[in-house]
């Protein structure tokens, strides 16, 4: 039996009709064509499929699309501004070489975006804890850790600029 669902993905209301067993990750990729969300292990270990559900990072491979009905999802496609300007986390990963093959990057970016919203100036230890659920097989993590700190700086600068502009 198929289930009609309505999701707000990256600010856009999207409708789909899915079988109950359709994972949210597969719904995003196959039904909605948003292939930025990557699927690695499909049992919650690698973190590549992490998206934001009502602002909170979750594994999209450990959730059924039918359960997400009526909720807001942000995928990696929704992190940049409408004009294409990269978000602080995206800029930082590019600047600090926080990626090589890029497979794990969408999951890292979603995780880090939510983390920096809660903790704007994290310590090294807090960064490592925050990204502990995301696997990267290329970088050795050092540049990812640098990128998270750089993203925090960029985020602070962006905020300061906005406050300056508001004055």
């Amino acid at each position: 039996m198929n289930h009609p669902i309505t999701l707000t993905v990256n600010g856009v209301v999207r409708e789909a009709t899915v079988p109950a067993r359709r994972l949210l990750s597969d719904c995003l990729r196959h039904d909605l064509g948003l292939t930025g969300t990557h699927v690695g292990c499909e049992h919650g270990v690698c973190g590549a499929c992490t998206v934001l559900l009502d602002g909170e990072p979750v594994r999209s491979c450990l959730m059924f699309a039918a359960t997400a009905d009526g909720h807001e999802i942000t995928t990696v496609e929704g992190l940049a501004a409408a004009d294409g300007t990269l978000s602080p986390a995206q800029r930082a990963f590019a600047e600090c070489h926080g990626l090589q093959c890029g497979f794990c990057t969408p999951g890292f970016l979603c995780t880090v975006t939510a983390f920096l919203r809660e903790n704007a100036a994290p310590t090294d230890e807090e960064v490592v804890e925050a990204i502990s659920g995301n696997l990267c097989r290329c970088t050795g993590y050092q540049n990812i850790i640098k990128a998270v700190h750089r993203a925090a700086e960029l985020q602070a600068e962006t905020r300061a600029d906005k406050e300056e502009g508001a004055r």
Partner: protein, 293 residues
């Protein structure tokens, strides 16, 4: 790596959920809460239930109620919510101490405390916490409910007393008594993995700071959490002079670890003894500090 097909039920409230479970429970119906343990099993087809009853719309169960007697956690309260609850931490700090060791922050955004108890993985932290504290789980069915004590709730590896057609609606974690402390220590191959061995400890001191009560619950070393009373072994002395070696020996004698790809049975037994001392000392120090404040 995709689940096999199932009939999906999405009840809007508790009454509807119990109706659906009464109908499909005996027919192999499983409850889906956070899904952080169940969906991996479905994806790997280690489980293939005919019906899934999704309780994620039962927001009435997303509760954390901390009172003088303890903390009652509703079936839809996520790990992260309980972990961040200041009132819950004040009443029973072991909850937060254990939750920080449960998987990764992103998993804790979705997984539920009650779901973890019903899943009854002998390597999981929360069943050990419930067993150590002597808590209970409330099981509802159409037309009634029952409260099952932790000692009767865990019946085997991944097996609980929840019968087909029943829904675990909440769990109760008793409050920390005065002059008491708790700690949870574990060793895992990677941070966030299931522990090779882990020990939750609770210690209560008497008015002269001597150990009056001391219990541990061990994970990954038996079919269910193994609770050991070590008060006698500690010798009724203060933390600094308690017989921790005897306590560790008592724990090692009681557990029945098995070997697997990660560790031999002997190593698990050794590790559990070491972790028991670490957790007991931590709990005793916390209890002494609690008295000082």
């Amino acid at each position: 790596m995709k689940p096999s097909p199932f009939d999906y039920h999405a009840p809007a409230d508790l009454d509807e959920a119990l109706d659906v479970l009464a109908r499909v429970g005996p027919d192999g119906g499983k409850v889906l809460a956070g899904g952080q343990s169940l969906i991996p099993l479905l994806n790997m087809r280690l489980a293939a239930p005919a019906h899934l009853v999704d309780i994620n719309r039962l927001t009435e169960l997303a509760t954390v109620e901390a009172g003088p007697g303890g903390v009652r956690v509703g079936a839809l309260a996520r790990h992260a919510t309980v972990e961040r609850s200041t009132p819950a931490a004040a009443v029973q700090p072991l909850l937060g101490q254990a939750l920080r060791l449960v998987a990764h922050p992103v998993i804790r955004n979705r997984g539920t405390v009650v779901g973890s108890l019903v899943h009854a993985d002998p390597s999981a932290e929360l069943p050990a916490v419930l067993a150590l504290l002597g808590g209970s789980v409330r099981l509802a069915h159409r037309g009634g409910e029952r409260e099952v004590a932790a000692a009767e709730f865990f019946t085997g590896p991944m097996e609980s007393a929840a019968a087909p057609g029943e829904l675990a609606v909440s769990a109760f974690f008793p409050a920390r008594p005065p002059r008491s402390g708790t700690a949870f220590c574990e060793v895992a191959r990677r941070h966030g993995d299931y522990a090779m061995a882990g020990v939750a400890a609770a210690v209560t001191l008497d008015e002269d700071f001597r150990i009056a009560a001391a219990r541990v619950a061990c994970v990954s070393v038996g079919p269910i959490p193994v609770v050991v009373d070590v008060a006698d072994a500690c010798g009724g002395r203060p933390e600094a002079s308690a017989d921790w070696a005897a306590a560790a020996a008592a724990v090692r004698d009681r557990i029945e670890p098995e070997a697997d790809i990660h560790a031999t049975a002997d190593y698990r037994r050794h590790l559990t003894g070491v972790l028991a001392v670490r957790a007991l000392r931590g709990a005793a120090v916390e209890a002494a500090g609690e008295e000082g404040t």
